[in-house]
Symmetry: C2
Subunit: 241 residues, 2 copies
């Protein structure tokens, strides 16, 4: 059993934060002393770790609580999503870095704000949140963000997975093989049509995310065989170079 001070030191959060998390019901300590001092155990620490991961991804504390309160909360699933989101964020940082370097070199104008665009991250975040039960909020979101009904987006997702599956019979070839590369182009075109303009750069980022070990990796490997995500990523990296 650890005191607030000890947990604070170990986890790098303030004592006030621990107190706050207790009062809002996000993280109750395992117990209290007679005099009301908080006492944390290992389970609490693990929970805190989860919370901090969500927090790094800028989930509101209320959301985090809702997600973790859920009786069918799935730690593995959460980690999967967190990995996807972290990968997206890394991509975002890379974009910003590139912009900064451009500005540095050209000293002059580069009136580009695409690097600040977080819509892809936001979208995945929304989906992730929605996958944790609250159907009401999700419908709300769908209504707000255009009419693409969930049946439409399901159809799009199916089309995407069909293309992904198309990689399965190509697995024996080299990623640089013409047939494989053609399939990559198919993928790019499909994304451009159904989601957003998919430049080579965007595609490269997607490839990395596919192979990052999160939900994407799982789904892809399930659809096109183990190791498929990694294979596709290799093909994409060749294609985009």
């Amino acid at each position: 059993m650890m005191t607030v001070h000890e947990v604070s030191k170990l986890a790098g959060v303030s004592i006030r934060t621990l107190q706050y998390y207790d009062t809002i019901g996000l993280l109750h300590p395992a117990g209290y002393t007679d005099s009301g001092y908080r006492l944390y155990d290992d389970t609490d620490l693990k929970r805190l770790q989860q919370i901090l991961l969500f927090r790094e991804l800028e989930f509101p504390l209320k959301e985090i609580r809702r997600i973790m309160e859920n009786p069918d909360f799935d730690q593995a699933k959460a980690l999967s999503q967190q990995i996807d989101l972290l990968t997206l964020r890394r991509k975002h940082l890379d974009d910003l870095l590139k912009l900064a370097r451009q500005l540095q070199r050209k000293g002059e104008n580069n009136m580009d704000f695409k690097a600040f665009d977080t819509s892809k991250i936001d979208e995945y975040t929304q989906k992730a949140k929605a996958s944790w039960g609250d159907t009401a909020e999700y419908k709300e979101y769908e209504k707000k963000h255009g009419k693409r009904s969930s049946s439409d987006s399901k159809k799009a997702a199916e089309g995407l997975m069909a293309i992904i599956s198309g990689f399965a019979p190509l697995r024996e070839k080299h990623p640089s093989d013409a047939a494989v590369q053609a399939q990559v182009k198919k993928l790019q075109d499909f994304i451009s049509e159904n989601y957003y303009s998919c430049t080579k750069e965007t595609l490269s980022g997607l490839g990395k995310m596919y192979a990052a070990g999160g939900d994407f990796t799982k789904n892809i490997d399930a659809a096109a065989g183990d190791g498929a995500a990694s294979f596709i990523n290799e093909a994409i990296q060749i294609y985009t170079k």
Copy 2:
């Protein structure tokens, strides 16, 4: 001249945000129509871009204003620091990703919170802020964070640069050469003693930052010759593998 709506669309910020930035004096539009509508020009857009970069790095708006108000505000210097900070953040994300993957694999406990530690980022942020004039706040910060007086830290910095300079005569050799690798080890030991425990992993991250094109790159190249930062990074990457 663009309206709020147009700027909002282009830059991906809300109209409210533009209004707010105007009232707090962070970004005044170039002019107003007779009826009080805001009108922005290209200069404003460039300024907004700078602001957004600072904001991505979680600088408080007041700080951003103070920095950019400063008559000797140096855009190039700002970009340099921003690059360093973005690089640090990327490293931070990589750490989190690694932690998440570990948790995913081992399903079991990995009671490690080092990945959440942002002290290096915070420290550099403080230094960056301090370099923009406000000596009062900086002294305050030094007082708070232990007694390492600025003379002490200057001595440490000098020691570091001495080691960096030590790479200069080795530039003709291959990064994997024993002499070069020995120098890398010297560097690691020095950092461990004077700053923080410098694992191979930490060192690898530092190497990348050295070569990222920001302040570090500049200082290193100035001390040990052009291209030195990149050379040192290569040596580090070999050493840490």
